[in-house]
Amino acid sequence: MAAAADTLGRQETAAPFAIELKGISKAFGPVQANKDINIAVPKGTIHGIIGENGAGKSTLMSILYGFYKADSGQIFISGNLTPIPDSQSAIRAGIGMVFQHFKLVQNFTVLENIVLGAEDGALLNTSLGKARRVLKELAQEYGLDVDPDTLVEDLSVGHQQRVEILKALYRQADILILDEPTGVLTPDEADHLFRILKGLKDQGKTVILITHKLREIMEATDNVSVMRRGTMVATVKTAETSPEQLAELMVGRKVLLEVEKTPAVPGKVVLSVENLHVRDEHGVERLKGISLEIRAGEILGIAGVAGNGQSDLLAALGGMTNASGKITLNGVDLPLSGAGSDGQSRREAGIAHVPEDRHHHGLILDFTAWENVAFGYHNDPKYQKSALFMDNDALRADTEKKMTAYDVRPPIPTLEAKNFSGGNQQKIVVAREVEQNPDLLLIGQPTRGVDIGAIEFIHKQIVALRDAGKAILLVSVELDEIMSLSDRIAVMFDGQIMGMRDPETTDERELGMLMAGMNGKNTGEAA
């Protein structure tokens, strides 16, 4: 793409690009994941690649890292045509990849993880000694401090990510690809990561940042390429674009990034939680005395880094795990263990639950859409034909109605759940739960792996349910989502609520501090 060179303000005669892809295409069966992709990344820049889920970003990067072979097209590294048939070739070509899900051996030390696959000989002693030296140098050069002898499983997620970056640098990568690197990080850790990336750039490394978060693109990149449905729709300078323009390029139409909602009108208390404790199967205390209230007509958002007890809170309230303490719904005590504490009873009591992990708890992927819509409500009298049989025709008709109302594509109830895209799967789950008209909706990570268009729709449904006078407990690791949807925000850290904040008067910085376990007292503010 000659135009790319121009828009990026580079001359064809200047130093060659770090990476240049020409006409890359890749199909998986009938699905064209990448169509004639052209992209040129200048050396020493941070280049963002943004697109919705399924736009083909990950496929493109997997081709670059030798995981898949492109059906056609060429890869140039520093101006030289470089075929990349496998990961080994990618590593040799100076490409390092930091995957969204880290590829680390949990019970190996940092050092062992770093030398794995890049050993200097058949014996480990020399390799480990050299790695220890190099690691010290890298730590000084880029501010990437990690204790080489710690087991990876004892490291925080942010530090594990550093190990992944160090792995790439140890292999002398000049081009570093990061796939959705901030999904698991606190805002502070994310800021630290971006500082590291800027440092790498200053040392002449090229960084490719794949993300669906517009804010990160605007904050960290020099140039940005936008992908939509397998094609590269634009490459622009970050300084010359705006989040609105990028969102429009991603989706192909204008999108509302801000959720439109009126101030909440809270009514009576719907859910009251007092001193809730949960222990996991290893006896570790995951919830350490949670107390909160949610009123009719308000959305309580729970912010926090994944794994700080939010999932356990949802599981306890949704009847997926035993707990101790006290919860009341509309003034009635609900059992927390034993009879009547299961998900079925909770639904009968008026608590609907959109679980965080739709593939494991929200849907059975091999079942059809209408069967999935029955789950949890299969005893509902309206779905019964007789004492023995369910009224499947009614269910199918009901499902089709819901699918149409929620714009699930395609609206075919007999299609298996696995055949829908992430966004459409989530709409099926949301439709099932919201349309039961619950008093309380528990909703976890409502837009994880969901494209922007569907995000907009799901957010609207949540606000509409609130405006209908229902109580909503929203758990999300996306701080933007919490900030824009919630009427009140509770921040969780290590199984406790660190503080309640008003989204109008707080900011990401303050929430980030609470998410990292520092409460207001440490910073001199009132808690």
Binding site: F28, S58, T59, S62, Y65, F67, D86, S87, Q88, A90, I91, M97, F99, H101, K103, L104, V105, Q106, N107, F108, E112, N113, V115, L116, G117, A118, E119, G121, A122, L123, L124, N125, S127, K167
Partner: protein
């Protein structure tokens, strides 16, 4: 029990622990690489028959050993193809191979020798005979240590010494070499190995091949050293006992040796009901003694040994993520 009797029991312990140890180390390589192998039993059985047959035909124990290793490798290759190449269920593949070995060994032995599924009795160079270690005779009269060295340590076949030398060797390979690092990694998180540019399939096949070789030695030892020829089902569940020992040892080589010695000790006791009676002052029925190693196996497998964390990717075929 006097000292001499104790030494006799310990001597038997070592002889009986040897096939367990070889099979246990075999399983260790495979499982550390993430391939569960319930087919240790079948591989030992196939190796025992092949070793017994070839030793009988050629008169050479070494030729028998090679044949045993070859047969076991063939079974290991089948397991590898099923479990690694075709990503099949590793337990089912292992069980199937055990059945195959159980029937096929008797069939072939019967077809070759027409002795009711046994191979002919071996003698002379067709067996691995005891080796007297240097100085054993000279030290024999030294109190305590002398008889221990002469009775227990010395006087085993070369395969026994080989088995016990493989223990430190395995430790060294696993924890001090590049191959060991990669082998352990592929059993914990094959994706980490794959993205590091190392072949998951290659590593796993290498591990399965080592398992084949060690099971081959174990089987050959059964037929050409411990006993003089192959007999129907002669491994008698040793493959499963070795697996229990492996779990007992939490997949660590030195601990595996102690676990196998313990199981071997129980097997040795079963051969000496008189000694047991003398020690516990109660006549323990022989079938109960015979059952002891198996009872211990069940207890170990039922989790009475505390938490044993198997390699995390164990039993799962590796599929590249999209």
């Amino acid at each position: 029990m006097d000292y001499a009797t104790l030494l006799q029991v310990l001597d038997t312990t070592i002889r009986l622990a040897t096939p367990l140890l070889l099979a246990c180390l075999a399983g260790l390589y495979s499982e550390r690489a993430g391939i569960f192998d319930i087919g240790l039993e079948g591989k030992m059985l196939a190796a025992a028959m092949s070793a017994g047959a070839v030793a009988a035909l050629t008169g050479s124990a070494w030729a028998g050993l090679l044949a045993g290793i070859g047969a076991s490798l063939l079974f290991a290759a089948l397991h590898g193809i099923a479990a690694i190449t075709f990503r099949g269920n590793q337990l089912i593949s292992g069980v199937a191979l055990n059945f195959l070995a159980s029937g096929l060994t008797v069939l072939i032995a019967q077809a070759l020798f027409r002795q009711g599924g046994r191979t002919p009795p071996l003698s002379g160079n067709a067996r691995f005979n005891p080796v007297t270690l240097p100085g054993a005779e000279a030290l024999r009269e030294v109190p305590l240590i002398g008889p221990l060295y002469y009775e227990v340590i010395s006087g085993h076949s070369v395969l026994v010494y080989m088995a016990f030398l493989i223990v430190p060797l395995t430790w060294w390979v696993l924890f001090r070499t590049r191959f060991g690092l990669r082998l352990r990694a592929v059993g914990e998180n094959p994706a980490a190995v794959d993205t590091a540019g190392v072949s998951v399939v290659g590593l796993r096949f290498a591990a399965v091949a080592i398992t084949g070789v060690l099971c081959g030695v174990a089987g050959a030892y059964m037929a050409t050293a411990l006993q003089a020829g192959f007999g129907r089902e002669m491994t008698a569940g040793r493959g499963y006992i070795a697996l229990a020992a492996l779990i007992f040892a939490k997949w660590r080589p030195v601990a595996a040796m102690w676990a196998c010695l313990l199981f071997g000790f129980f097997q040795a006791l079963a051969l000496r009901p008189d000694v047991v009676q003398a020690v516990v002052q109660v006549r323990v029925p022989v079938p109960v003694l015979d059952a002891l190693p198996y009872i211990l196996t069940v207890l170990v497998l039922a989790g009475f040994v505390g938490k044993a964390i198997p390699p995390r990717a164990g039993g799962q075929p590796y599929v590249k993520e999209r």
